[in-house]
């Protein structure tokens, strides 16, 4: 009898094993929904698939007479705009600070404690401060994302840059490289795939901060919508929206992976860690 630790599923087996729990959850939902509908046709907590589908069609195709736009697309555009702006600013700040902190011991000694202190502040706790200081508009919501993910990304990148082997740093200097040339030709290119990895890990938190910001003060956005329709227990809208947000998050993650493979193939070859 082979040990359990040595039994590895094949290709088809993996697909089957991976799909089974998902299918079970879906079937479980359909069964539970049907049971609740049978008892009370007006039940709102577990709407049947058809109800969610018709809500989805309504949100994604019909123009809302009040705002004059189609809710799903207006929400998606507004949310992605905030998210991408926040991620972009965080990435830029991270690149600059991460490189400097990772490369220069003087900068690490000067700014390291400050970054560490900022990193322990729970970002949501700062949200009121942001709304007071920056108003209820777009700025505060983007700022929440930036404040929420940048400290982690900076520390992650700084440690990755700091982990470039000393042998490489010495070698570059024996080849005549200045500090600037080391930053530009050695640290920056090696930091890029690590930065993308850090960004991918930060996507989850970034969505959390985005939805938190939108839930509290907004008039459009995916987070705004689900918190709005919550008042009417409109699970038929909330659940498709949650699925849509998850799909967007997965697609962004895949896009970042693809960029990393496409532009930094050396980080993905066999033997690279």
């Amino acid at each position: 009898m082979r040990r359990l630790v040595n039994i590895r599923p094949g290709r088809g087996g993996k697909v089957f094993l991976g799909a089974a729990p998902l299918a079970l959850v879906a079937i479980g939902y359909v069964v539970a929904s049907a049971a609740r509908q049978a008892e009370n046709p007006a039940d709102k907590l577990l709407p049947p698939i058809e109800a969610m589908w018709s809500a989805w069609i309504r949100m994604s195709l019909e123009v809302d007479p009040v705002t004059g736009s189609i809710p799903l697309w207006a929400d998606t555009v507004a949310s992605l705009h905030r998210l991408i702006l926040g991620l972009g600013i965080s990435t830029g700040v991270t690149l600059a600070f991460g490189l400097v902190l990772g490369l220069l011991p003087v900068a690490r000694a000067t700014l390291g404690p400050l970054v560490a202190a900022i990193a322990v502040i729970p970002p949501i706790a700062v949200l009121p401060v942001l709304f007071i200081a920056l108003g209820l508009g777009e700025t505060a919501k983007v700022a929440l994302i930036v404040i929420g993910i940048t400290p982690f990304m900076v520390r992650d990148l700084a440690s990755q840059v700091g982990a470039i082997p000393e042998e490489q740093m010495v070698k570059a200097q024996t080849l005549g490289a200045s500090t600037w040339q080391i930053a530009l030709r050695l640290a920056l290119p090696q930091a890029m795939p690590k930065l993308l990895k850090g960004l991918r890990l930060s996507l989850g938190p970034a969505w959390v901060f985005l939805i938190a910001g939108e839930a509290i003060a907004s008039d459009v956005g995916l987070g705004y919508r689900i918190f709005l329709v919550r008042r009417y227990l409109a699970m038929d809208v909330i659940l498709p929206y949650v699925a849509w947000i998850s799909l967007l998050a997965v697609l962004m993650g895949l896009l970042l992976s693809w960029i990393s493979r496409k532009f930094f193939p050396w980080d993905h070859t066999r033997g690279a860690e």
């Binding site: 042998e167 070698k171 080849l175 490289a177 193939p265 050396w266 980080d267 070859t269 690279a272």
Partner: protein
């Protein structure tokens, strides 16, 4: 004394109250191939770090070509480590061209057009010389250990350093590959008239390649405070073709650490 390239005068290295090297006095002539051996912890790597410029002596002075050595690495000293000497994000060709691009372009560290082509041609020639002409566009992670060390040597030589420093360069290689590398480094030494300092664990390798062997160890030993005495070069053998066999006392010195099979 012959034409002296590197002169080490009364050099000490101390960390707090721990003395690693004491009173090292050496002169290295231009064009020599000096092997440095010694048991672990005898300071041979520290000695090499001094010459590379990774650290400065606590006392004493080092002169390269008559001038005081800067305590930071520079293009007058080429280096090949046991591992991690090459840049993983650059192809073999770009790894070798890196040194040429750094000296040719202060701000961008990159060359363009004709100058780039000239640098790449020079790099390709250097790679052909070390036997890597078929892997110009491979990334280091796609090369075997021996090929990575060939690449590291080509990369170091392209800046034409005054002195080439090798830190256990063949320590991680298979015996057969190691023999090939011995042949290569010996040829390059003769062809380019290089001055080489090589730290190695392998006494046979030291005597086979070097024309002078230095053995580092502690001259004095205090069993109650072993850290209070540092090492220095206790044996200094000039080698001719006739005496290429390690003497018995040296093999005994490294007894705690048997040389790896060739």
């Amino acid at each position: 004394m012959k034409d002296v390239l590197l002169s080490i005068r009364d050099v000490w290295v101390e960390y707090g109250d721990r003395i690693v090297l004491e009173k090292v006095n050496l002169e290295i002539s231009r064009g020599s191939f000096v092997s440095i051996v010694g048991p672990s912890g005898a300071g041979k790597s520290t000695f090499l770090r001094l010459i590379i410029g990774q650290e400065a002596p606590s006392r004493g002075a080092i002169f390269l070509n008559g001038e005081p050595l800067q305590p930071e690495p520079g293009p007058d000293r080429g280096v090949v480590f046991q591992r991690y000497s090459v840049f993983p994000h650059l192809t073999a060709l770009e790894n070798v061209a890196f040194g040429l691009e750094c000296s040719g372009s202060m701000f961008l560290g990159r060359l363009f057009g004709k100058r780039r082509k000239a640098a790449l041609d020079e790099a390709a020639q250097m790679l052909a010389r070390v036997g890597l002409s078929h892997s110009l566009n491979a990334y280091p992670s796609q090369l075997s250990g021996g090929m990575q060390q060939r690449l590291a040597i080509a990369q170091a030589l392209v800046r034409k350093p005054r002195i080439l420093l090798l830190d256990e360069p063949f320590g991680a290689l298979d015996p057969g590959i190691r023999l090939d590398m011995h042949g290569l480094i010996d040829e390059l030494w003769r062809e380019h008239g290089l001055t080489i300092l090589m730290v190695t664990h392998d006494i046979k390798e030291a005597f086979k390649l070097g024309d002078r062997v230095l053995a580092f160890d502690k001259r004095r030993h205090d069993p109650h405070a072993p850290h209070r005495f540092g090492s220095s070069a206790v044996y200094d053998f000039p080698l001719t073709e006739k005496n290429r066999r390690p003497p018995a006392e040296l093999l005994a010195l490294s007894g705690a650490e048997p040389s790896r099979a060739e």
